[in-house]
Symmetry: C2
């Protein structure tokens, strides 16, 4: 039974603008390009003004991560309705990550300031792995495989010319 998506931390209209601009910046130029001065510049204001809307940069990033997890969760929950849910979840996971690699990295790489995120959101976004496999251990193992594949692909860790479709297929087979 798929619970409803937890509510995101509410934002004022101006804060929503800022998050949108931040997201565009990260997607365009990577997470390390997200600086308070550059972001402010894209909005036609100065860096200190951003602090009228977010207490610090980490809070802004948390808002970005929430939106990223929420969208990924939506996609994965929808995938459960497809035939062969395990394969569908894997395929959608990869598609989403590769479509927005910089946001994927921001949301999933490095230590997570979990207390900054809407409660339950992280669990909800990973829930489709459990719903597809029906077992918590298989679900975690499958998620680890998917995350490993995606982050290694995004980070360019696989040797050039690797046939990643085949590697994904091999993983899907192992977990079926």
């Amino acid at each position: 039974m798929s619970r409803e998506r937890p509510a995101l931390t509410p934002l004022t209209p101006r804060a929503t603008d800022i998050v949108s601009a931040a997201r565009a910046l990260v997607e365009d130029e990577g997470r390390e390009a997200l600086t308070m001065r550059v972001l402010a510049g894209r909005l036609g204001i100065r860096a200190p003004s951003l602090y009228k809307h977010f207490p610090d940069k980490a809070a802004l990033e948390a808002a970005l991560i929430e939106r990223s997890l929420a969208e990924l969760g939506e996609v994965l929950h929808a995938a459960l309705a497809e035939p062969e849910p395990v394969a569908a979840v894997l395929r959608r996971y990869r598609e989403s990550a590769v479509a927005s690699p910089n946001m994927y990295r921001l949301a999933t790489a490095g230590p997570l300031a979990r207390e900054r995120l809407a409660p339950g959101l992280e669990d909800w976004s990973g829930e489709p792995f459990f719903l597809a496999t029906g077992d918590p251990y298989r679900a975690q193992a499958l998620w680890s495989f998917a995350h490993g594949m995606v982050i290694l692909e995004i980070d360019g860790r696989f040797p050039g010319g690797s046939d990643l479709d085949r590697t994904w297929a091999e993983g899907a087979r192992a977990f079926s």
Copy 2:
């Protein structure tokens, strides 16, 4: 057949000291604690003096990463001699990563400046996955699973109270 380990980029004696101190610093306090000023302080010198030994911080990090990959490779190659090589490689991989989480993250997370590393070293350190499975696609999938497990564990991404031993066992079973 396991090739010999590629030679690491050679270092002067003083540079070796610096790399050792940098490694201790990263292991003690995490990768973001590695700053040129703090590192120099641990060595009793000033930050600009470090540039007599390394052209920039990335070169120093590359030396750290080389050493990390070399040690991981040694451990994994040794694991091939154990009974049940696939399980042994997974077990040693996890042990090594968890024993030095900050170095593991430094070496494996984020985009890799491959051109700064000793040629062949990265492939050599991952070779045991191929030697254990006998198939390049299974090897990549298994490596992805192992990396995903380890990095999610290190980054504290699994829900509290997860029985990771069981998840590892589930993954090992899937790939056997």
